[in-house]
């Protein structure tokens, strides 16, 4: 009989509650009559995320001493808990955002089931403590997302986006898997601390494996030059799914990048810090310059998310506790701003029934003041203006780069921010400074839909975006304890 490891069910509670929610939501596809199906599935999905959020808080409180559980396959520590909180919070907001989406009703239950399942995969991903669970969790949430991209078959470009995501995403996973195999070949170990302890840092196999691991994770974080799928997929996927990918997938991928590099490859830090810095610079350059010429708002936000990944990777590249803090802090306003801005795009999309461009955002700020002002705040936050957490986040990553001795990276970041102003403020200009009458728009009729859930979502994101500017100390303490879980040298 195979010996069974002890299972710490509490550590897995967020994952399991989401899995349970996914299962129940899926069952509602057959058990609940069509009229109530969507409501039931969405309610269970939201419930699952809420439970996961609650369990993550409990885990954060009770996991002061981080340790591996389930035969050291999964890390029960505060980093996992904090990342789970961010993912679960994002999922909850996205569920609220998705509910008002006017999609085909015949896959409503599957939609929420997949949303919960991908959240479960991410919650597992951020706690992965060996290469096997890492890959397993990566595929788990990726497959859910592939389907979610394609679920609305009526959507223009939806299938194309899903196919593109599937092919390129699988390629990324394959690279990651191959990298894992090479690392295993070089060290004979699968678990992160074991890889570090194997002491094979000069092995060419290990270095190649490390490079491929970084590439695979960068695919998921959509950092340049591994970003080619991002604009098309973000544009083609249903907007709530885009919001989820931009916020939660990126969070998971960046947190895992930090964990893998710091835990498994401390001896190769001189290599990967440079590699990550190079990826960050690439992302900043490509993301910002490509965003300048976009006319579609979703595409612009996609490129902006690439450049934001660049800023956050600066924090990773610093290879310090300060850098880790910077990354985790940055993620909190970043996820809020991403979900919020895509939610506003979704609102406009529902009003007009066509893809949202800079042109047809004209006058939106005055028509819908709450959404307009919130969008303004999100864009200013992306651009790193004060009164939003984006400012403090940028300040922290720059501080981390400087502490690491890379003043040039601070300068690059500053220049990238300057370029980014053009398109972020361009959208503000479109929303507030152009008149609606300048456009010959044909609204799809009636007054704008009153979507209380969407407005609540946007308002929550606004509160987080602005609140994180004022409540820096508690959030930083949260991040500090989380980052302390990693074995810094």
């Amino acid at each position: 009989m195979i010996p069974r490891p002890h299972v710490d069910w509490f550590a897995l509670a967020p994952v399991n509650s989401l899995l349970l929610a996914a299962g129940v939501a899926l069952l509602s596809a057959v058990l609940v009559p069509r009229s109530g199906r969507k409501a039931v599935a969405a309610a269970f999905c939201a419930l699952g995320y809420a439970a996961a959020f609650g369990f993550a808080i409990a885990l954060y409180v009770k996991s002061a001493d981080g340790h591996g559980v389930v035969a050291d396959a999964f890390d029960r520590d505060r980093l996992t808990a904090l990342a789970t909180m961010i993912v679960a919070g994002t999922g909850l907001l996205v569920t609220g955002l998705a509910y008002g989406e006017r999609a085909r009703e015949d896959h409503a239950a599957e939609y929420y089931a997949l949303l919960a399942a991908s959240g479960a995969g991410m919650a597992f991903f951020v706690g992965a403590n060996n290469l096997m669970t890492l890959f397993l969790a990566l595929e788990w949430f990726s497959i859910s997302l592939y389907i979610l991209c394609a679920i609305d078959r009526d959507r223009l470009g939806g299938l194309e986006a899903a196919l593109k995501y599937l092919i390129i995403g699988s390629f990324g996973s394959a690279v990651l898997l191959f990298g894992s195999a090479l690392v295993y070949g070089a060290t004979g170990k699968l678990d992160f601390p074991g890889i570090a302890a194997a002491g094979a840092q000069d092995d060419a196999l290990l270095v190649l494996g490390l490079a491929m691991l970084i590439a695979g994770l960068a695919f998921k974080a959509s950092a340049a030059p591994f970003h080619m799928w991002t604009p098309d997929v973000y544009e083609g996927a249903p907007t709530p799914v885009t919001a989820f990918m931009a916020a939660a997938t990126k969070t998971a991928a960046l947190v895992v990048t930090l964990r893998v590099l710091v835990t498994a490859f401390p001896a190769n830090a001189h290599l990967w810090t440079v590699a990550i810095a190079a990826i960050a610079v690439c992302s900043l350059a490509i993301g910002n310059f490509a965003a300048l010429v976009q006319r579609g708002v979703k595409r612009m936000l996609a490129y902006s998310s690439i450049s934001q990944a660049g800023f956050m990777l600066i924090g990773v590249s610093a290879n310090s506790e300060l850098g880790g803090r910077a990354l985790l802090y940055y993620l909190i306003p970043y996820t809020a701003m991403s979900v919020g801005s895509f939610a506003v795009v979704a609102a406009r999309e529902r009003e007009l029934g066509v893809p949202v461009t800079f042109e047809n955002m004209a006058g939106f700020g005055w028509e819908r003041p709450l959404l307009g002002i919130s969008m303004w705040a999100f864009l200013l936050g992306f651009a790193g203006f004060p009164l939003t957490g984006g400012f403090i986040g940028k300040f922290y990553v720059f501080a981390a780069a400087y502490e690491h001795g890379w003043t040039w990276l601070v300068i690059v970041g500053v220049l990238a921010t300057l370029v980014s102003l053009y398109y972020y403020l361009g959208l503000v200009r479109a929303m507030f400074m152009r008149r609606t009458e300048d456009l010959q728009l044909a609204p799809i009729g009636g007054s704008p839909p009153r979507d209380a859930l969407l407005q609540t979502t946007v308002f929550t994101c606004l509160v987080v975006t602005v609140g994180s500017f004022f409540a820096v100390q508690p959030l930083i303490d949260l991040c500090k304890h989380a980052v302390n879980a990693l074995p810094w040298v």
Binding site: L322, R325, W366, L387, I392, V410, L415, L421, V472
Partner: protein
């Protein structure tokens, strides 16, 4: 008390935005808040102990401790005057905007109040990051105020304005990160001096664009021409002073070495800006152009005073900051009032407005006379002190300044005569009214402040720095 000065307008802005109000009550509330702000400032002025000087009414709370950033605000003698300038000009501009009946008055008033709070914050922040936050926060309402309520070329004007200023500000952010982390604190009262020329230049870039100094004034004519008159008044009257304040509080005080090394080039740029701006003001075809370029010239003069780094120059530049703030705010408001009557600012189409309009003639002429620094005016006192200050650094600088004073007389008199005298211009109809009581209510208090300062310029020059020794305060870095 300092925190109250920041929070009162911000809270009022929130109330105006959130509560459903009709335009009249929103405007009244905003005006009331702005006047209350003036009241708070008068309290501050009365209670500030000028004999003792130094940082008073300070308020300090940790913001985030791991990088030693705190919410630290407080006022020095000279910041009392700059805050006073801000609250008085903001009250006047808010009143004018209300009276002129801007569209979407609730949003407009909220933004003006927000701007008010942010500018006050710049002048009282004693932590570098907090200073930066307020410095940037000023930009958020300004962007919208120019971009939404501006003239036909507003889009280009805002874009230029934002990209110019942000380029400087972001360089300053890089400087702040490097400076603060290398000194392990961001608190301006604790942070030590630095000899790094790069950090210094980062700060100077931000302030030189904001002021603006020649040759970084590309955004200025468009922004001043395209915005509504009251926003132009705030921009040139108050926002530019934030840059001069930065020169004084950070660039000169914290970087004595680099400030000394770069004195000659900075004085040269300031002098060129002074003469060049005056010449452009003399050639400008429209009202706003004259005031905008004269603003460039005056900021050059103020910068000269600051970088002279001696008692005379520093006292003079603080006095001149307040003078110029009041003068250019009044002139921009008057320009708005004239444009409202004639629908144009082109000097060629104006003229002869003095006949039958005694109030307009009196107010404009009085402001103009102060602006051209006739002896006994407060501007004369300020310019004289600055010239005396830079004279100690080299007589050539003082000559440039003296030439500019002659040029100032030329452009101001040209402006006054083009509007008031000569034949009646094609754009001026007989039915154009004299200044209304409300307009007088906005401009006369500003003018009264100027006249009061003309009578007693020592109110500022002897109550700005500890024991009237600006250079000593700068050398001690305002500790």
């Amino acid at each position: 008390m300092t925190t109250l000065l920041i929070c009162l307008p911000l809270a009022a802005a929130l109330i105006v935005w959130v509560l459903p109000m009709n335009p009249v009550s929103a405007g009244s509330l905003a005006l009331l808040a702005a006047l209350a702000e003036v009241g708070v400032w008068i309290q501050l002025l009365v209670r500030y102990d000028f004999a003792q000087g130094g940082l008073q009414f300070s308020d300090r709370h940790t913001w985030f401790s791991d990088l030693n950033v705190s919410y630290h605000v407080g006022v020095y003698g000279f910041s009392v005057w700059l805050v006073g300038l801000t609250v008085v000009v903001m009250a006047a501009t808010i009143a004018y905007g209300f009276w002129a009946g801007r569209e979407r008055l609730r949003a407009y008033m909220g933004l003006m109040l927000f701007l008010n709070g942010a500018i006050v914050g710049v002048f009282v922040a004693q932590d570098l990051l907090l200073f930066y936050a307020f410095f940037e926060a000023m930009l958020i309402p300004l962007y919208v105020l120019v971009g939404v309520w501006g003239g036909p070329g507003r889009m280009g004007a805002t874009l230029k304005f934002i990209l110019y200023t942000m380029a400087g500000s972001l360089l300053m952010l890089a400087s702040i990160v490097v400076y603060g982390l290398s000194q392990h604190t961001f608190d301006l009262t604790q942070i030590g001096e630095s000899s790094s020329q790069w950090i210094f230049l980062g700060f100077v870039a931000a302030f030189a664009i904001k002021a603006p100094l020649f040759p970084l004034h590309g955004w200025l004519p468009d922004a001043y021409r395209e915005s509504s008159p009251e926003v132009a008044a705030v921009l040139s009257g108050v926002v530019s002073k934030a840059a001069a304040y930065g020169f004084l509080r950070i660039a000169v005080a914290k970087f004595p070495g680099p400030a000394h090394d770069f004195r000659a080039p900075i004085l040269a740029l300031a002098a060129v800006g002074l003469i060049y701006g005056s010449l452009l003001a003399f050639r400008a075809p429209d009202l706003r152009g004259v005031i905008a370029y004269s603003s460039l010239a005056q900021m050059g003069l103020i910068t000269m005073g600051v970088f002279a780094v001696n008692d005379l120059g520093l006292d003079g530049s603080v006095l001149q900051m307040v003078n110029h703030g009041l003068v250019s705010a009044t002139l921009f408001l008057l320009a708005g009032m004239v444009e409202r009557r004639t629908l144009t600012g082109e000097l060629g189409r104006l003229g002869g407005m003095a006949r039958g309009r005694p109030a307009l003639a009196t107010v404009l002429l009085t402001t103009g006379v102060i602006a051209l620094a006739v002896p006994l005016s407060s501007a004369f006192a300020g310019e004289f002190l600055i010239l005396a200050g830079v004279f100690q650094r080299g007589w050539g600088w003082a000559v440039a300044g003296a030439v500019a004073i002659v040029l100032a007389a030329m452009y101001v008199l040209r402006l006054v005569s083009a509007v008031l005298h000569r034949d009646v211009g094609p754009a001026v109809s007989d039915s154009a009214l004299d200044l209304r009581p409300a307009e007088l209510g906005v401009t006369v208090p500003l003018l009264a402040c100027l006249l009061a300062l003309s009578v007693w310029p020592a109110a500022i020059t002897q109550h700005s720095f500890r024991g009237d020794h600006g250079a000593a305060d700068v050398a001690a870095q305002f500790k």
